[in-house]
């Protein structure tokens, strides 16, 4: 029955504990809707036919509803609607209340990608790894505009609101890959803001998590040596700073506002630069990336064309990390901070 209705209604497969609950109510509501539309429609059709006009000046009886009829008209829909409400609200409370033992993942929506980070370290873009049969709480925010995190197979959705954290949760029931879509219009590439949830079995999950920790193991032992038992969350910007130091950016660029051989990184992101060809442009992610890969493309006035290309010397994530790092070096304006939102403590 479930399978048949699922197909008929074009519903995606049910891959979370919530999916089944929603669908059961869905079936109930849809059947009542269909049935009542059918009954009203048939009654109307019957009346149209049965009471068709027989002469041009036909008169009719003066028919009015009795109190009983009106009462029926009000109470019949009301009973159904309230029944739906009660079941629906119970399920809604269920999906709004993450279990205490849920594992946390932070989700950040950004034009036009989903970033995931786990309190223990690993990060990911557009791919969310989770174990099957374990509740996962998502703490969702946005860096720019509204987005909405939607996994049809789990039947969950929650808006990503800049300046706030919202939360939802799910418990995936079977390993597999499920699509994530953005359902709040967020600009040009809204429809390309896709991602996927990879649900892993228990063993796969353990292996994956172990693999991920390798990268931050070093940090971990430093932290232990510090006697601070808190593992340091790996921050992209921190990594960026490290990479920038390693590849030698600071030989030419300062971070304190002083121009050196090249322009200072301080406040660079978002600044409008005047170029040597007389045009100007606003420094954004694309420009920073391009400057690393093809430094001669847009030269800022007052600086010599001496920067080497880093094409092939920096991996994608390293480049991104440097960009993120430069972005943190903004002269403090009101834009920083606020949109990062509050940080929730994991529920214990």
């Amino acid at each position: 029955m479930n399978e048949l209705l699922n197909k008929l209604l074009f519903l995606p497969e049910q891959a979370s504990t919530f999916a089944e609950r929603v669908d059961n109510l869905h079936y109930f509501v849809v059947s009542v809707t269909m049935l009542s539309s059918f009954v009203t429609g048939t009654a109307a059709l019957y009346f149209f036919f049965r009471y068709r006009r027989r002469s041009d000046h036909q008169t009719t009886e003066y028919v009015i509803p009795s109190v009983k009829t009106e009462f029926l008209f009000v109470s019949l829909p009301l009973v159904f609607f309230l029944a739906w409400f009660v079941i629906g609200f119970r399920d809604f409370v269920f999906v709004q209340t993450p279990p205490k033992n849920a594992m946390d993942v932070y989700v950040m929506g950004k034009q036009w990608m989903w970033k995931f980070s786990y309190p223990e370290g690993p990060n990911g873009v557009n791919v969310l790894h989770v174990p099957a049969n374990r509740p996962v709480r998502l703490l969702i925010t946005s860096r720019d505009v509204l987005h909405s995190f939607f996994v049809p197979a789990f039947r969950i959705k929650m808006d990503a609101v800049p300046g706030r954290y919202t939360q939802t949760w799910f418990e995936a029931t079977k390993p597999g890959t499920y699509q994530i879509l953005c359902t709040e219009y967020c600009g040009l590439s809204h429809s390309k803001m896709l991602g996927e949830v990879v649900v892993l079995s228990e063993e796969e999950w353990d292996a994956w998590a172990k693999e991920q920790r390798k990268g931050s193991l070093q940090n971990r032992q430093d932290a232990l040596a510090d006697l601070s038992l808190e593992p340091e969350p790996a921050r992209m910007a921190d990594q960026g700073q490290k990479v920038a130091a390693e590849v030698g950016c600071f030989k030419c660029h300062t971070v304190n506002g002083e121009p050196h051989i090249g322009p200072t990184f301080q406040g660079m992101y978002g600044r409008t630069e005047t170029l040597q060809d007389g045009t100007s442009l606003r420094v954004d992610e694309a420009y920073i990336t391009q400057s690393m890969m093809d430094p001669g493309a847009h030269l800022v006035t007052g600086f010599p064309n001496v920067m080497p290309t880093f094409q092939g010397k920096l991996t994608g994530p390293q480049t991104a990390a440097i960009v993120e790092y430069i972005k943190t070096l903004r002269t403090p304006d009101i834009r920083t901070g606020a949109s990062q939102g509050p940080v929730y403590e994991p529920i214990q």
Binding site: A44, R54, G88, F150, D159, Y185
Partner: protein, 557 residues
């Protein structure tokens, strides 16, 4: 009433061909200069001008709709690029909502019929009435100027912070909508005062035609809710141009506040769009079943009920915005009440047909379509209000299908029904019945074929406002686009035979439907001052088709 009187001969209402006739030309020919139209204070001419303009806006909005649907024929880019697509669906929404659905029925038919139905010579404030038409046009010109010079890509909901960050030209379009809001308020105010003060002797509150009740309830919402929209639009413009920081979290503002303010207007606004159609349909079902409305008071009060609870349901647009779970519960219950009020109306409409004398003419065909769209659209609304179901459906094509079914379906059905039903009244000509039925069938079928696949797309999880979509959604999208073409064909057919009827149509009888609606108590088309000779005497409720011998014994079911 003497038994010998024919259906159109209501006491005192006889528009008998008398000697006055030559001195009272119809409003259409009373003054034929351009100025006599553009500066007219006659509610009927203003109504006709509204009709012409909203039809033009409908054409613009419809063209955008077809562009959007064509683009969605294939999963990837089809005919336009992403930015153009985003502007197209925004403009489709803005034009259809602010320039077509809100002003259409009140502007065209409300203006024309309300005074006639109240036995009045005009609306209470004729100059304000003309002003509201021009405010609509000024707003439209500003908004359309904005569309041509840049366009806007926010969706008609203008959600911040996207709307304050986008580089497209939001300001003129929002400002246009702001001005259109004043037009809406002025119309509402005018109708409220007209209903209170201009009723002819004999028309008590409970003898008002149901169309008047519906316009009255609509007007209350227009006057109470529109100012909120006006203010929030100004705030968005201020935010974009001067960085107020009310909605921008980067400046300590709150984007969800925008949603509250926006839906506080826009949820009631959906009833601004749909209540007038409920009113039209109440008239039509009575006229074509030749029957008194079953449960007149219930239908009248449910309009007020919808208008009232409509103000307390806005939160159902924000179940997944992070509002508290408790809030969601409260809004869910309140939303159910709207469903109950709508259900009462539906039952009473069907009840009206019971023991009636049904004449299946074009307006009645639209009534059938309307009944079905309202039941199905309303029920899916209740399904949405069931908080847990809203979670997967929110912001998917299911929403698009729902509100097109109820809001667009009902409005279009009522608008088309009204055009056909009142065509002889307004223009004194008859349209071709056969073609009327053909195009009604095309429109109703096309509508279903367009939006039923969208319900399924929503179930399958396709988000709304998507330029590209995963391959698996294609079949349903193709079906929907095919349906839209059928729908467009239906409108083209009706445009052709209606324009033909306007020019070459047969001259209509004064009351071709033998309707007992009050507006038929004068000539068709009516003279400038609405009534020739003594004013009709209103002793019976509207649509009283009872055999006078049996009039004493109401039959309760």
């Amino acid at each position: 009433m003497s038994p010998s009187s024919s259906a159109e001969a209501v006491p005192g209402a006889v528009p008998a061909p008398d000697e006055h006739h030559e001195h009272h030309p119809s409003y259409l020919v009373d003054g034929t200069t351009v100025k006599s139209w553009l500066l007219t204070l006659d509610h009927k001419r203003i109504g006709v001008m509204y009709l012409i303009w909203v039809l033009l806006f409908f054409l613009i909005g419809g063209t955008y709709a077809l562009v959007v649907r064509l683009e969605l024929l294939t999963p990837g880019p089809t005919i336009i690029d992403a930015m153009t697509y985003n502007r197209a669906f925004t403009m489709h929404g803005v034009v259809m909502i602010f320039l077509f659905m809100i002003p259409a029925i009140p502007g065209a038919f409300g203006n024309f019929m309300l005074p006639l139905m109240l036995g009045a010579k005009d609306v209470a404030f004729p100059r304000l009435n003309l002003l509201s038409l021009y405010l609509l046009l000024i707003g439209a010109v500003i908004a359309i100027w904005g569309m041509i010079n840049g366009g806007m890509d926010t969706g008609w909901t203008f959600y911040t912070p996207y709307s304050t960050h986008t580089t497209t030209t939001v300001a003129p379009i929002l400002f246009g909508a702001f001005i259109i809001g004043f037009s809406s308020i002025a119309t509402g105010l005018n109708f409220i005062v007209t209903t209170h003060t201009m009723r002819a002797p004999g028309i008590t509150w409970f003898k008002m035609p149901l169309f008047v009740w519906a316009m009255y309830a609509t007007a209350c919402i227009q006057v109470l809710a529109t100012p909120v929209l006006g203010l929030v639009l100004l705030l968005v413009v201020g935010e974009q141009l001067f960085h107020f920081g009310i909605f921008d979290p980067a400046r300590g503002g709150d984007p969800v506040l925008f949603q509250h303010l926006f839906w506080f207007y826009s949820h009631p606004a959906v009833y601004i769009m749909v209540l007038p159609s409920f009113g039209v349909m109440s008239e039509i079902v009575a006229a074509f079943s030749r029957k008194n409305i079953f449960g007149y008071r219930a239908v009248a009060f449910s309009s007020l009920g919808i208008a009232f609870v409509g103000f307390f349901a806005w939160g159902h647009h924000m179940f997944v915005s992070g509002q508290s779970t408790f809030n969601a519960g409260v809004f869910a219950v309140l939303t159910m009440l709207v469903g109950v009020f709508t259900a009462i109306k539906v039952f009473n409409w069907v009840g009206t047909v019971y023991k009636g004398a049904v004449d299946f003419k074009t307006p009645f065909a639209y009534f059938c379509g309307f009944l079905y769209f309202t039941v199905f659209g309303g029920m899916t609304g209740v399904a949405f209000a069931t908080a847990s179901l809203d979670v997967p459906w929110h912001d998917t094509y299911f929403v698009v299908a729902h509100f097109h079914f109820i809001m667009v379906g009902a409005t279009i059905m009522a608008f088309m029904a009204a055009i056909h039903y009142w065509f002889p009244k307004m223009f004194g000509k008859m349209y071709h019945e056969g073609w009327g039925l053909v195009s009604a069938a095309l429109i109703i079928l096309g509508f279903n074929a367009t939006f039923i696949p969208q319900f399924l797309l929503g179930n399958a999880g396709m988000p709304r406002r998507y330029y590209e979509y995963p391959e698996r959604f294609q079949t349903l999208n193709v079906a929907s686009t095919a349906g839209a073409s059928l729908l467009a064909l239906g409108f083209i057919v009706s445009a052709i035979y209606l324009v033909y009827a306007l020019v070459y149509g047969e001259k209509a009888a004064a009351n071709p439907w033998n309707s007992k609606g009050y507006e038929w108590l004068t000539e068709s088309p009516p003279p400038t001052h609405n009534f020739v000779g003594p004013q009709p005497i209103y002793t019976e409720e509207p649509h009283f088709y009872v055999d006078p011998q049996k009039a004493e014994e109401p039959h309760a079911v």
